[in-house]
Amino acid sequence: MKLIIAAIKPFKLEEVREALTTIGVRGMMVTEIKGFGSQSGHTEIYRGAEYAVNFVPKVRLEIVVTDSLADQVVETIRTTARTDKIGDGKIFVLDVEQAVRVRTGETNDDAL
């Protein structure tokens, strides 16, 4: 199994989720994060005090899928999250050794 971690633009979340559902992904974890990358942040000014905020709001997806589905997931995210503007995000793939479904105790591919 693979853990696919992706940082994408927040407004793309629904679209990506739907696309992934279509190809058979049945679960994921979504976290609101602050992203740092080439996309530059912004400056805020409060009564003359300027703060450069180097972070940009992103959404981070974590999806564990069977090895066979992994490439398709990466591809789907890549095409769906894409806007061709800087800051579209990154996808990382890690290996997962084990998976368990709490409710049933099923493991690995059955647990997904």
Binding site: F11, E14, H42, T43, E44, I45, Y46
Partner: protein, 499 residues
């Protein structure tokens, strides 16, 4: 019409509806020789206290009331833009008001007087602590500064109501320019047309003069007096009743909002992304402060602190509650759950509807009015709006426009003493006293419908032209990227919430 010293007052009382009756009665009265009408101007500290607090309450409706009501409904990223828009409009319009707005609304406008006032009180020229304005009772006056302050708050809140219709997508600079134009060309004239009249003593004086002249066969003098009696705003002369601003404030702003949301187009992601309110807590606070402040708006429009003030308070209270209850239960029935947002939206709808009726209807009439307004506004907002594909972000038209129209027309019905209403005031049949004119349903209701239609057209067309003007020059709408990032950061350089 030289030397016409108009005494400004508030809230259309349809004085002229009493004219035919007046003619008859006057004929009888004229049997006894008539003396010219004279009067004293007395100011009551209790009235001043009430009007001061009413002024403050209407300000409270605007900031933070309306700002929070609207702000809570937008997404986090646009919170500050809404707060800034409302507050900045309030601030700028206040300055315009003392500069020339008050003058345009509440002075004699020469040949344009039917439509708008003049510049004689620009920069509040000639107003000092001894200046007074008429109320609705003969002989009872207010310091003019009190009236200026009270009416200022109406000028401040009305344009601020509009911003809800195109929230989350308008350019701040464009909005500021639009609002300056709008208050100048739409609001001040509307206020003049609805609320510019002579006041009880002026009417008594001119009516008496007319009767004396007629008895003496002095047609010129009689005509001059008649002209003075008719030197009111257009809608006032139509006999349209508007106690606290159903047409001037709510229909006016509602239509301007409707046109605005159509001209600007839908928000990016509308119908696809979730645009759930970022804080219904703020919306609830805002709605509550609108509720609380509305007593200043409605009961303050009585200009005095007496039993009619109390009636307006009761009416406002129960219409608001009825509106909330109606919306909540009908939503419960049709959508399965009674929501807080529904409840408070209904409260606002009830408040809007009772605005023109506040001092005219009876409490039970106001309950019914609130129920109807809550139900109809719900149906519009939950079904019709979507069917029409309108992105009126915060339902300015659905609540203020629709609620305002219901209220304006219902006022013509509920004023009927047979329904517990206060009756149509008549200052002319017995000059110097306030009588209740005979109620004729068709006349009363037609006057209201005429006023509503006029407002829809005047404000609709006028606003449309102004939007287009601003759009063609500086552009109304922010770029798509800015809209996605949120107006707070892009337009104001701030975030509403940090840690």
């Amino acid at each position: 019409m030289k030397n016409l010293m108009k005494l400004s007052g508030l809230a259309a009382l349809g004085a002229l509806a009493g004219l035919p009756a007046a003619a008859q009665d006057a004929a009888t009265a004229a049997a006894a020789p008539l003396a010219p009408y004279t009067f004293e101007q007395s100011v009551n500290n209790g009235d001043v206290a009430w009007m001061s607090i009413s002024t403050i309450l209407v300000l409270l409706m605007t900031v933070p009331g309306l700002a929070l009501f609207y702000g809570g409904l937008v997404r986090t990223k646009n919170m500050l833009s809404v707060l800034t828009q409302v507050f900045a409009i309030c601030a700028i319009v206040a300055i315009i008001w003392v500069t020339y707005g008050y003058s345009l609304a509440f002075t004699y406008g020469g040949s344009l007087d039917t439509f708008v006032g003049g510049f004689s009180k620009a920069f509040l020229a000639g107003v000092d602590v001894n200046s007074k304005v008429a109320t609705f009772t003969n002989g009872v006056y207010l310091p003019e500064f009190t009236f200026i302050a009270f009416q200022m708050t109406f000028a401040c809140i009305t344009p601020a109501l509009i911003v809800g219709a195109f929230a989350e997508r308008i350019k701040f600079s464009a909005l500021m320019v639009f609002i300056v134009l709008w208050v100048t060309l739409i609001y001040f004239p509307m206020a003049h047309m609805v609320w510019w009249w002579g006041g009880p003593d002026f009417l008594a004086q001119e009516q008496t003069a007319k009767l004396i002249a007629e008895a003496a066969g002095d047609t010129a003098a009689a005509e001059a007096a008649a002209a003075n009696l008719a030197a009111n705003g257009l809608l006032w002369n139509w006999g349209a009743l508007d106690f606290a601003g159903g047409t001037v404030v709510h229909i006016n702003a509602g239509v301007a909002g409707l046109v605005g949301c159509i001209v600007l187009g839908k928000r990016v992601g509308y119908g696809k992304e979730s645009m759930a309110p970022h804080s219904l807590t703020m919306t609830m606070i805002g709605a509550s402060l609108l509720f609380v402040g509305w007593f200043g708006f409605n009961a303050g429009s009585n200009l005095e602190s007496n039993a009619i003030t109390a009636l307006a308070i009761v009416n406002t209270f129960v219409a608001a509650c009825a509106g909330g209850v109606a919306w909540m239960f009908i939503e419960w029935a049709m959508k399965g759950k009674p929501s807080l947002l529904g409840l408070v939206s209904g409260v606002v709808a009830g408040l809007v509807a009772v605005t023109p009726a506040a001092g005219f209807a009876g409490p039970m009439g106001s309950v019914v009015l609130g129920l109807v307004a809550g139900a109809v506004c719900f149906l519009f907002v939950a079904y019709v709006k979507n069917a029409l594909g309108l992105d009126d972000s915060l339902d300015v038209f659905g609540v203020h426009g629709i609620g305002g129209i219901i209220g304006a027309i219902a006022t013509g019905i509920l004023v009927n003493p047979a329904l517990g209403g206060a009756g149509i005031p008549d200052y002319l049949s017995q000059p110097g006293t306030l009588q209740v004119a005979e109620y004729v349903a068709s006349t009363a209701i037609m006057a209201q419908i005429k006023a509503v239609l006029f407002t829809l057209v005047f404000s609709g067309v006028g606003s449309f032209i102004l939007y287009k003007l601003v759009d063609m020059t500086i552009g109304l709408r922010v770029k798509q990227d800015v809209e996605r990032e949120g107006l707070d950061l892009a337009e104001h350089g701030e975030r509403a919430y940090s840690s």
